[in-house]
Symmetry: C2
Subunit: 348 residues, 2 copies
């Protein structure tokens, strides 16, 4: 058995050199990663900027998430914040703290996950920092370009506006529930990271076509939790269509619409029947005896986009209407206070 090369074996500068080899070229980076700072061309004259911290054991578990999963998730949640302003993600800065004994391949695979998600979003990587710590922590910053559009804040919703959604909802929370239950983890292990379900004699991947489809759906939910897929182009599309307010759904649909309601000084009413309950989410709820509306209305981390549009707007492709803006404050579901579980507080 060959000994694994650790981060300490490579050393800080060796690790940085190995990471730099993975970075996609970007001619907008007039000074790319490797100097004191990078220089990014933003002809628009306005830069969109957001940062997030991810901590092992809080935002991800290394026994559930592979390194590429961690990278995809870390990138996606930042890139989605840029899209939620109506901007195009342009570049990422990646700060990494990790134990010196961590295999260097873990870090490089994580970077491959970040790079892959950046490419999907049309972004590059402008720089970063690596340092030692007792557990893995990531500090990621995303920069974006409004390309001439006005930024879409949380504060512009007006009574009468349509409320709309783009992207998956409830998938991540359902996948998390499957992982907690153990069934999701078994499926994930059977999948072996290949992306194609294979029967490892676990009994989980059953013979009948209906059962196999159910397993495949469950695995898709687990993967949606590990690797959210924000609908990046939906952000600028909403801005072009005149969206009055927009947010990235990270804390839960109701909690995040609550941020729009508070910033705009309005009430937002959701028509629960209009919020899609996708087949895999419904099936997982049946399997676990759970209420899928908890996942759909209060589950976070799908990084869907929610926005408001002026009355009578034609919604851009990929957006579906889910409610209406009213005078008042707070968020209601079918005109009533929702009594399910609340959003997420990182310290409670």
């Amino acid at each position: 058995v060959e000994a694994e090369i650790s981060v300490a074996d490579l050393g800080e500068f060796g690790l940085i050199a190995a990471i730099r080899d993975l970075l996609p070229a970007d001619e907008s980076l007039t000074v790319p990663a490797g100097d004191d700072a990078a220089v990014l061309r933003i002809p628009d004259g306005r830069v969109v900027a957001t940062t997030d911290v991810l901590v092992e054991g809080r935002h991800f578990r290394r026994d559930w998430s592979g390194p590429a999963d961690v990278g995809v998730k870390a990138a996606a949640q930042n890139l989605a914040d840029v899209a939620a302003m109506g901007a195009r993600p342009r570049t990422l800065l990646v700060g990494l703290a990790c134990p010196p004994g961590l295999p260097a391949d873990w870090v490089l695979d994580m970077m491959r996950g970040i790079v892959g998600e950046c490419v999907r979003a049309g972004a590059s990587i402008a720089g970063g920092d690596v340092t030692a710590a007792d557990s893995v922590m990531l500090g990621i910053t995303a920069l974006g370009d409004l390309a001439g559009l006005a930024p879409v804040t949380r504060g512009g919703a007006r009574p009468g506006d349509r409320v709309a959604l783009s992207g998956r909802i409830g998938w991540s929370a359902a996948g998390f529930a499957l992982l907690q239950d153990g069934q999701g983890l078994a499926l994930l292990q059977a999948d072996q990271g290949s992306g194609v379900l294979r029967d490892q004699g676990s009994g989980l991947l059953r013979e009948g076509a209906a059962d196999r489809d159910r397993d495949r759906d469950a695995l898709a939910l687990v993967q949606a939790h590990l690797r959210p897929q924000p609908p990046y182009p939906a952000g600028p599309a909403a801005a072009r269509a005149g969206a009055t307010a927009m947010i990235d759904v990270s804390d839960g649909l109701l909690a995040d619409l609550g941020h729009i309601a508070a910033a705009s000084g309005v009430r937002i009413d959701i028509d629960e029947a209009a919020v899609p309950e996708d087949g895999p989410v419904a099936a997982a709820a049946a399997l676990l005896g759970a209420d899928s509306s908890d996942w759909i209305l209060a589950g976070g981390e799908d990084h869907a986009l929610a926005a408001t549009f002026p009355p009578g707007s034609v919604l851009p492709s990929g957006w579906i209407a889910i409610g209406e803006v009213r005078a008042g404050s707070g968020v209601t579901v079918n005109e009533a206070t929702w009594t399910g579980r609340a959003g997420w507080d990182h310290f409670r």
Copy 2:
């Protein structure tokens, strides 16, 4: 005794609201902190971006550094990287992970340190993220504006160029040595954070004027370690004066000049007698029986700026000549290989 309010007591959103009250206004932030992302006006059409991670126990110790010290240091090392490109620091994004039981005042005092250093550098704070972790970690990103100047990279030094330095050198390493020795910590405790030395009966703050001056110098070194003071305006001044390469001295003067030498394909020779040995640094070396050249040539974290200028250049105010660029590779001191200790690797 009143119970201290913890971060968990305030909660994520309470903490964010308390932090937001501390942020200075910046009319270039057309969308300030509080939305999915901030929007910063950069009329130049190019944004300078850099990120750093600071980890408790690696980059700072909470028994040595007060919260404001941690904030100052975290901000300074990022803002200095922006200045080292020849740019003006414009704004900071602050990602913070901390234990839920940490006093909320610790976080707010740290933010006051960050804000103070930003104000000193002419920058604002565009946003951030707070989350829970077992120890304190900061992920900080600084953005800057070249204001029409060409960026000064590490790669433009040419044989014959003058090598110059702006800012303190050796102070941080000398202060660190005093802290390790214990004398620095005693002085710091006697100082009680007031910024004015007071005799607490510790015997350290002596009666005679000469002794008192020596204690005051030692304390200044300790404070320089805890709160580096990068010479921000020296960066754009160097760019205006035609600097061919520039770097922030974070790993040590020789190590960082080595980065310029490698990126430029040149050798850099330092005239050791020209590198200032400031009085407090010399005094601390005498006190501890140390070699001050280790601190001056290999000690990092002062965040001075080192740059190269075309032959015959008049150096801008605050810059002093310390050597010359030659053909070849590597860094020499008085034309010879330096045999003191090397720079810093975070994983070794």
